[in-house]
């Protein structure tokens, strides 16, 4: 064992408990129970809070000055905010995928990672929701998007993809929070029952709602979990499809594409899993969770990244093919322009990050190396951000009429809001790591060999 790590890290001691169940409980609960988190947590938290301040400041500028403070110019009215929105919503897909789809597919390895993937989902959706909320231009009037009776006697236009977005993302955020919270109820009860302080016992007791592990309750709980998983599965597929409709139902070359819904969903899973590994690698290192989130888990996630990366690569190739096959000169120009035009550098960055970089996961030696996994995870996230940048900026700056062409140059506020949104994300995530059950203890216990009932 690395002695340097064990000095700064209170979680590297031996596991207490005389059986496997108690060891899992101890392994996860001690993160919350430790008097103070490891030094790395403080450093990361200070950094995240700083970025959060940048976020608040840059959004303050945008609200005060108007959205012209962002680098919006005439043909590119969507710019960074919508790139960031689609990026964050995409990140938010892996959590529900791991919780719901892998649950329905009986992939029991998901139990080690589902809780913080779900948390990541919720925090990513929070980050995503900020952008359209401010980008509407009058951030004090977002309730106009909701069907609330008003003095103007007007109702929202329910046949608009942008209104579908409000309902899809809103439903997704709500269902994700419900799913996440319900999953944590038994673990909150564990925290409550281990608490030594009155405040902790009261707070965790309140959110545990009096869970005592009754089998009659477990029965309904598991049924509800199955139902939520079955509901969340079509939901998660619908959300990024609806987001893609914002583009696909328009007539702009490069957006007006029927491949968008499946391509966006695959990209979302791809980017989301990449974010999960980026978070999982340091989390298991600093909080001593290597026995629960094993190298095997990371390897399986690397395989998912490889597979979805191939789907995304196929979509890029198919877009090119369809543009050629369509015979439409505007489509053909749009895609040639992507690869060789004004933003060609962003296109090739995207191809490198999303198609080429994940190919290293074909080799077992590389996909079981945490450093390789971490670096590829970061590269893929960069690539997925660029994918949305490419879609929005290349198409908007070069539409049908050359007289309507333009160039998009992001402003300093653009970069600040993008960086700042990571501050919001990491602040929430670090607080989650410290105060909430980072691993679904009850679910992990249910799948270890000791949990099996032996009949004679």
């Amino acid at each position: 064992m690395n002695t340097r790590v064990s000095i700064t890290n209170p979680y590297n001691g031996p596991l207490e408990g005389d059986n496997a169940f108690a060891q899992i409980t101890h392994n996860v609960s001690r993160i919350m129970e430790a008097p103070r988190p490891p030094l790395a947590w403080y450093i990361a938290f200070a950094f995240a809070l700083g970025l959060l301040g940048v976020f608040g400041l840059s959004l303050g500028i945008v609200v005060w000055e108007g959205i012209g403070a962002w680098g919006h110019v005439h043909p590119v009215a969507w710019g960074f905010p919508i790139v960031n929105f689609v990026f964050w919503v995409g990140i938010g897909h892996a959590g529900t995928l791991i919780s719901a789809i892998l649950f329905l597919l009986r992939q029991n390895w998901r139990t080690a990672i589902n809780r913080f993937a779900e948390a990541m989902t919720i925090f990513a959706v929070v980050c995503a929701a900020v952008f359209p909320g401010v980008h509407i231009g009058r951030p004090w009037l977002p309730y106009w998007m909701f069907p609330i009776p008003n003095q103007m006697g007007m109702w929202p236009q329910f046949r608009s993809p942008l209104e579908w977005d409000v309902f899809a993302v809103g439903t997704y955020a709500t269902v994700s929070v419900l799913f996440w919270y319900m999953g944590m109820i038994p673990d909150f009860a564990t925290f409550r029952d281990r608490s030594t302080s009155t405040v902790r016992r009261f707070v965790y007791g309140l959110v545990a709602m009096g869970w005592r592990g009754s089998s009659r309750q477990w029965h309904r709980y598991e049924r509800a979990y199955l139902l939520l998983a079955s509901l969340a599965t079509p939901l998660v597929l619908s959300v990024h499809s609806v987001v893609s409709f914002d583009f696909a139902t328009s007539q702009l070359p490069g957006w007006h594409t029927t491949i968008f819904p499946p391509y966006f969903v695959a990209g979302a899973i791809f980017g989301g899993f990449a974010m999960v590994v980026v978070l999982a690698v340091p989390a298991r290192e600093f909080f001593g969770l290597k026995k629960i989130i094993t190298l095997k888990h990371l390897e399986l996630m690397a395989k998912v990244i490889l597979a979805t990366g191939m789907i995304v690569g196929y979509a890029y190739a198919m877009e090119m093919f369809v543009a050629w096959y369509s015979g439409s000169i505007y489509e053909q120009f749009a895609f040639l322009n992507r690869a060789f035009g004004n933003y060609a550098w962003s296109y090739w960055t995207m191809i490198f990050c999303n198609v080429l970089a994940p190919q290293v996961f074909w080799f077992k030696k590389l996909r079981t190396n945490v450093w390789v996994i971490l670096i590829v995870g970061i590269i893929v996230n960069v690539g997925m951000w660029f994918e949305r940048f490419v879609i929005i900026c290349t198409s908007l700056t070069r539409d049908f009429l050359p007289a309507n062409w333009g160039a998009f140059i992001p402003s300093a506020v653009d970069y600040a809001t993008l960086a700042g949104s990571f501050g919001l994300f990491f602040t929430l995530f670090l607080l989650f790591c410290r105060y909430l059950p980072m691993v679904a203890m009850a679910e992990v216990k249910a799948f270890i060999p000791e949990s099996h009932v032996h009949d004679h």
Binding site: T25, Q157, T190, L228, S238
Partner: protein, 407 residues
């Protein structure tokens, strides 16, 4: 009942018996025995769901899925009707010429609302059927029971079960080899009242949350002579420039910008001189432009356009006796009469010159170029040529058959 009125508990009644096991197998075997003994008010408590224990305990399938289905259908119906009512009855949106109710575009929101209602039903129904939240329970008084959320397994038979007999039941549980077998007493310690600070906090928060609504209600009911409050000044009073205003932002001070150099608006190229000006070189064109089809359809179009734009002054016959002329003449206020289009000098004008007159106007006749498209102006000229011919035709212009018909 206040604490002082509580009867002195000489003996706290028994809630039930609790047996502790340290592995799921032992628990399941015990559960089967209790089930077979016919108990109804009993339960097992475990740190994680033990799969298949429903059968060992005789738990019947929950009604939760039916509840969720009911809510799913409700969500679907509500979303469908709400969208129908708002967008095609109460506030009709005209979208791309579609019918007010074109349901395929409403499906995404119907789908999302179906999921949303179902999800609320799944978690809400689970909590409701499980009788949660449940703040206090007699088992909470057992120190050992806290391990139930960690690594221990418990079986509890309640004293209220009709089959419960303290001695026999204890014997039944003892035979299952529990680690610990113990009594659970009713909870006479925990107060069942909500703590006072919590009530005060909730009441104060509730009252404070009503304040904004009170202001809104007051504003709706009261009358005021002051204008509305402008929270966001530059949104209410737009700083946008009007077309003819001076604008210091640009070097030439003009608000209305000219198109970028080298660009032409759609349909404004006008590279066919003959078609758009009526001239060939410096001379009026004597023929019709090549792109104009000299057909029956063009003639009909010309007749229609002539009827709309020319007849008010020039009259149906083109003789200058239109309804505007008739009325203006009666007013005797110095009216320049419209030309009789059958005058020789007009008949002898080249087609291009007549086109030019329509386009640019003559004397007090205004220019019709901005109102009538070039093609339609040529169609009017074509019709006028036919009209002129009709008013000065001789018998010799007719064909033999037509002449025969006349006679």
């Amino acid at each position: 009942m206040s604490d002082s009125e509580k009867p002195l508990a000489t003996e706290t009644p028994l809630y039930g018996l609790i047996a502790e096991y340290d592995n799921p197998t032992a628990l399941v075997h015990a559960a089967r025995k209790v089930r077979d003994a016919g108990f109804r008010r009993w339960d097992t408590y475990t740190p994680f769901p033990i799969h298949g224990i429903e059968k060992d305990m005789g738990i019947r399938m929950t009604r939760l899925p039916w509840l969720v289905l009911g809510f799913a259908l409700t969500g679907m119906a509500v979303a469908t009707y709400f969208q129908y009512w708002t967008n095609s009855v109460d506030y009709r949106w005209i979208i791309s010429g579609k019918p007010f109710w074109s349901w395929p575009a409403n499906v995404p929101i119907i789908f999302e609302m179906t999921i949303l209602f179902s999800a609320f039903a799944a978690i809400g129904g689970m909590l409701f059927l499980n009788n949660l939240p449940l703040p206090a329970h007699p088992l909470d008084l057992k120190e050992r029971f806290r391990r139930v959320t960690d690594d221990k397994f418990f079986l509890v038979i309640e004293a209220s079960d009709p089959k419960f007999d303290e001695r026999d039941t204890r014997g039944l549980l003892a035979a299952t080899n529990p680690v610990v077998l113990d009594d659970v007493l009713e909870d006479r310690v925990t107060s069942d009242r909500i703590p006072a600070p919590l009530i005060y906090t909730l009441v104060i928060l509730g009252a404070v949350s009503l304040i904004p609504f009170a202001f809104i209600a007051k504003a709706r009911a009261a009358k005021t002579t002051e204008g509305r409050v402008h929270v966001v000044w530059d949104m209410d009073f737009t700083p946008a420039y009007k077309a003819q205003e001076g604008n210091p932002l640009f070097g030439d001070q003009r608000s209305m910008r000219t198109p970028p150099e080298g660009t032409v608006a759609l349909g404004q190229l006008h590279d066919d001189e003959h078609l758009y000006t009526g001239k060939v070189g410096d001379e009026w064109a004597s023929s019709f432009p090549e792109s104009l089809a000299l057909s029956e359809a063009t003639m009909e179009r010309g007749k229609q356009q002539f009827g709309i734009y020319c007849t008010p002054c020039h009259g149906q016959l083109g003789d200058g006796n239109g309804i505007v002329h008739q009325r203006a003449s009666k007013l005797k206020q110095g009216w320049v009469p419209p030309s009789d289009l059958h005058q020789t000098y007009i008949k002898e004008q080249p087609a291009g010159q007549i086109f030019g007159a329509i386009t640019n106007g003559v004397r007090n006749m205004p220019a019709y170029g901005p109102q009538i498209s070039a093609e339609d102006r040529w169609a009017i000229v074509l019709y006028l040529r036919a009209l002129q011919k009709s008013q000065s035709a001789s018998v010799n212009d007719l064909t033999d058959a037509e002449r025969a018909q006349l006679q």
